[in-house]
């Protein structure tokens, strides 16, 4: 195996539906729209695709094979994400390995969901066995309650304040105002953040995502196919996934990234200082802290201090979630695991519009499968534009 496990693979297309609070569109239509936009951006036809990686919470009883049938795809490669918001990147990496090894030529990497708040809560109550049997009977507050505990611990152990988490939320809202697809259209002041409605202290309204309807997609292709295409092309420099890390330690205030980032950087041949942006999984600001630390972008236990002196808006020295992220664009269920990938690909293609970052490469990150007190699955990948 070479040092670059994703050699010979290109990211050639990207698409995202409008994010909407409510929609009459069936999930299959949302997924189709995101994929159709991505294929068009690549200059590919539906019949050229021979693989599908798909994640969607509301899909059952349908699945990736029945969706392939629905779309009329003859597929040599299928992947269905079972790791919540970590699935998008994991699916992309599996697809890249399949293309590298010659099993497929063009893979649609897709996520989407059709969620309102009630549907989201209902799903979470029976998300998996340990949540259903040992958390739900207490009215644990859903993901808000679960991550309130992590947020409080980070504050107590490291001396972070509510303002320190707010800095991320306010910066991301500034980014979202330049993203026409984002749900939130109004600026967020620190004052409004600090005094918002209490949800599960220390979390208030703007620490929490807004469930919504939407879909996200990128297209991977072999070099052979990519040579026939005209648009900008990216490669995957490196990546990783790690689940249930560290085992049997729910409150380490770390997760898989700490376990795989050294390997990811060494395979990519770069370090955290060489990144031009980070598209993080922002279900809660404290998880962004944990990703930044796990991927060595900010110092362990001191991300709050780092944020006090680092501009993380689209125009700053370390732009984070340049499209607004889930906190300001919306969380379309499993699309939360792809929104950062789509934003990263748009930026590297130079299609960031009013929020364009000057960039050659950046990291995208995913997190998911909320279980006994934490999310179990972490993933990330470094993407780079080929000039």
């Amino acid at each position: 195996m070479t040092d670059h496990p994703f050699d010979g693979v290109r990211i050639v297309g990207v698409g995202q539906t409008l994010y909407e609070k409510r929609s009459q569109k069936p999930i299959h239509r949302i997924l189709w729209e995101a994929a159709d936009l991505a294929l068009k951006s690549a200059g590919l036809k539906w019949r050229q695709a021979d693989g599908l990686a798909l994640t969607s919470f509301v899909l059952p009883p349908d699945n990736v094979a029945t969706v392939a049938e629905h779309f009329g795809l003859e597929a040599r490669f299928l992947f269905q994400g079972l790791y919540g918001g970590a699935s998008g990147i994991i699916g992309m990496m599996h697809a890249a390995r399949a293309i590298r090894d010659g099993d497929a030529e063009v893979v649609i990497c897709l996520a989407g969901d059709a969620f309102d708040v009630a549907a989201h809560n209902e799903m979470l109550d029976r998300f998996n066995g340990s949540v259903r049997d040992y958390l739900s009977p207490y009215g644990f507050g859903g993901a808000n309650g679960m991550f309130a505990l992590h947020t409080r611990l980070y504050m107590e152990r490291n001396g972070a304040t509510r303002e320190d988490f707010g800095r991320l939320c306010v910066a991301q809202r500034e980014n979202a105002l330049r993203n026409p697809n984002a749900l939130f259209k109004e600026p967020l002041t620190m004052d409004a953040y600090l005094n918002a409605r209490e949800i599960a202290d220390p979390l208030r309204l703007y620490d929490c995502v807004m469930p919504c309807f939407g879909g996200d997609c990128i297209i991977l292709a072999s070099e052979k196919v990519a040579r026939t295409l005209k648009g900008p092309q990216l490669r995957i420099l490196g990546g990783g996934e790690y689940h249930n890390f560290p085992a049997n330690d729910v409150y380490s205030l770390s997760a898989g990234w700490e376990g795989f980032s050294d390997r990811m950087y060494s395979r990519a041949g770069i370090g955290p200082k060489d990144l031009h942006f980070a598209q993080l999984y922002d279900d809660y600001p404290v998880m962004e802290y944990i990703q930044l630390e796990g991927m060595q972008i900010s110092p362990k236990g001191k991300t709050h201090e780092w944020l006090r002196k680092t501009d993380v808006t689209w125009k700053g020295e370390m732009p984070i979630n340049t499209g607004g992220g889930q906190l300001s664009a919306g969380q379309a269920g499993a699309s939360g695991g792809m929104i950062g990938v789509v934003e990263g690909v748009l930026q590297l293609r130079g299609e960031g519009g009013e929020r364009q970052v000057k960039c050659q490469r950046g990291v995208v990150s995913g997190y998911g499968m909320v279980a006994y007190g934490r999310g179990l699955s972490a993933s990330a990948a470094i993407l780079e534009r080929i000039d």
């Binding site: 809560n121 040992y134 207490y138 644990f140 859903g142 309650g145 505990l149 409080r152 202290d201």
Partner: protein, 137 residues
């Protein structure tokens, strides 16, 4: 609207039956080089992989690791009780367990590290007592 019920299974039955008898039952690994306590209930020890955990009654004492005052529960059946304190508790025997703390919302400050003891409440679910915690100091 009814509250979400735990599923009673072959794996966790001694735990939930223990609650109904006001006893906190945990599994304990029987491997000579492990011997750790286990929660939530499993078919094997998640510390060493051994497959013969046994059930033991334990102290029911522990320490608050972290907590939140839930203002907005995610499930309608809890709206009438909110706000309430939901907490992660480290038991004296080691495992992490979740539950609510019986305390007024106004007193829900600086609870991390405080000692607690388990109580079993029969007013939460039909036919199944549910463990809660009380501050002991």
């Amino acid at each position: 609207m009814s509250k979400p019920m735990p599923r009673i299974t072959a794996v966790n039955r001694p735990y939930w039956e223990g609650c109904n008898a006001d006893k906190l039952m945990l599994q304990r690994c029987t491997a000579a080089d492990c011997g750790q306590y286990i929660f939530y209930p499993r078919v094997c020890c998640p510390h060493c992989g051994d497959g013969d955990p046994v059930w033991e009654q334990v102290s029911g004492r522990g320490q608050v690791l972290s907590y939140t005052l839930v203002q907005r529960p995610h499930h309608e059946s809890f709206y009438a009780e909110a706000p309430f304190v939901f907490a992660a508790v480290t038991l004296e025997e080691g495992p992490l367990i979740y539950g609510r703390i019986e305390i007024d919302a106004a007193e829900a400050e600086g609870l991390n590290g405080r000692p607690v003891a388990i109580v079993f409440r029969d007013d939460q679910l039909p036919g199944q007592k549910l463990p809660f915690f009380r501050l002991t100091a």
